[in-house]
């Protein structure tokens, strides 16, 4: 009995710093977020008045919310499939018993190391109205496409940037998944007369299913969290014409009511990522 008590004291004293920080800076904010959902809050005075479901009505009637919704949906639909496919392709290539795979891996990993702010500046320089990509397209095709200031294309730049910097991480996740597939499965398939393509479709793809599921969910969650790039590119406004307004940017720009609703909306989604 005494030793059991001691174990408990020891356990909690090892966990104390972690639990304290989590309580104050994660748990209380979450509870707070839930409560604030039904209140109108004046951030300056801290005054709260109960308004019931009014906040939700406000959000739904706000065109900016729908702009953010549409942008995020487009974002997920483009970014997730593209980054998953590129990452899978690269992982398969890297796994095909080649030399220098370490060097390729190290080089390709670079974008993951770069902060989103530095990356955004680099991409803004590339896609700037006087930037390399714009000039290149002008020289090759004779049209001047202005990416950053064109509402139809500004989000594309952010998508490209996002794909560029998330591919390396997922590539390595896929790579380690590929290396866990038993060689015997391929041998058996080869004996049954399956070529490389068939082996890929009937052995690699099903064996990678759990990894692919992980990559896709993490990808979707990542897309909902996009903030830094959109903030820096649009100066925090989500412009031009709300075309780069993401959910998180929307929350940031309208603190009093928006975030609570968002928070709830995203919960089922993010809990999906646990599996």
């Amino acid at each position: 009995m005494g030793s059991k008590y001691r174990q408990t004291v020891q356990g909690y004293s090892f966990l104390l710093p972690a639990l304290a920080v989590i309580l104050v800076f994660t748990l209380i904010p979450i509870v707070y977020a839930f409560l604030l959902m039904f209140f109108k809050v004046d951030l300056l005075s801290g005054e709260k008045t109960f308004v019931g479901l009014q906040n939700f009505e406000k959000i739904f009637s706000d065109p900016k919310f729908w702009a953010a919704f549409e942008n995020t949906a487009r974002y997920v639909l483009v970014v997730v499939p593209v980054q998953t496919l590129i990452a899978l392709l690269l992982a398969v290539l890297l796994n095909s018993k080649i030399r220098f795979d370490r060097i390729f891996l190290s080089v390709m990993f670079l974008p993951t190391l770069t902060s989103s702010s530095a990356m955004t500046l680099i991409f803004m320089w590339l896609f700037n109205n006087n930037g390399l990509v714009v000039n290149l397209i002008r020289d090759l095709f004779g049209v001047k496409i202005q990416f950053v200031t064109n509402p139809d294309l500004a989000l594309t730049v952010i998508m490209t940037m996002n794909i560029f910097s998330t591919v390396p991480h997922f590539m390595i996740v896929f790579l380690s998944g590929l290396q866990d597939i038993p060689a015997a499965l391929y041998e058996a398939a080869a004996i049954d007369g399956a070529g490389k393509v068939k082996q890929f479709l009937h052995v690699t793809v099903p064996q990678l299913m759990p990894i692919t599921f992980y990559v896709i969910t993490m990808g979707v969650v990542g897309c909902f969290q996009i903030f830094d790039q959109a903030f820096i590119m649009s100066n925090g406004s989500g412009g031009p014409q709300n075309s780069t307004l993401t959910f998180t940017l929307y929350i940031y720009s309208w603190p009093s009511t928006a975030m609570t609703w968002e928070g709830r909306r995203r919960w089922p989604l993010s809990s999906g990522s646990s599996f």
Partner: protein, 275 residues
Amino acid sequence: MKKNRKTLKAIVYILLTGYSLLTLFPFVWSLSTSFKTTREITAGGTFLPEDWSIQGYQTIFSSQFPTWVMNSLVVGLAVTFLNLVFNTMAGYALARIPFKGRQLIFSFLLLLIMIPSQVTMIPLYIIVSDLGLVNTRSSLILTTMINITYIFMMRQFFTNFPREIEEAATVDGLSRFGTFFRIVLPNMKAALATQTVFIFMGIWNEFMKPLLFISSPEKYMLTQGLNALSKQYMNATKWDVIMAGAIISVIPILILYILLNKYFIRANDQTAGIK
């Protein structure tokens, strides 16, 4: 058949080299830009600078940029150190000390890890401001000094660490704290290196929290500073200055990457393994 395989191999190398070059290109282009004169940049110009100039670097080093680098370094080191200690302690307790409520706490942490940070963005700000921490470096340190992902990684490490070694130390008369600090700690260099690399990189590249908490330029973190820098110089098309800033911001992480390359890649494997 044999010829076929050779062509296939060639295609693999071409694709990998192609993607590697695509990855490197934005960085090389930014590096080259950072050594150009503003006049050359406005004119369009060649790939490599015509007149090499360090004007860009001189400009940022005479601005507040060095202060921002220092801020990021100080906060980064403090956060990394605290994370190492606290995450490891928590992971140890969860793996090794059979105390009451352990399973409950574990499941609870698993639930919290899924909640995206922007849900709690605004309430977190309110709490930080209630504690009187707005515009202090402590706000950044306190809110990031624990990371549940790495608590889980350390828990995993201790689950796999041979218990006999610890038992022997206990028999020799060491207390639990003694065993932890004198026997276990020296054995976990690799796990700690992985944590160091990713925690430091995380805080060095963090953008949203500094943006929320820090308002006076002399306390800016580097990522925020880069954003400010870009606002200041973009209209004057002084991309050499902006790119110099971006390049310098990447260097510390690049040094870490070169020194600890294997931990970067391995940790990516491990995070995939946990899920």
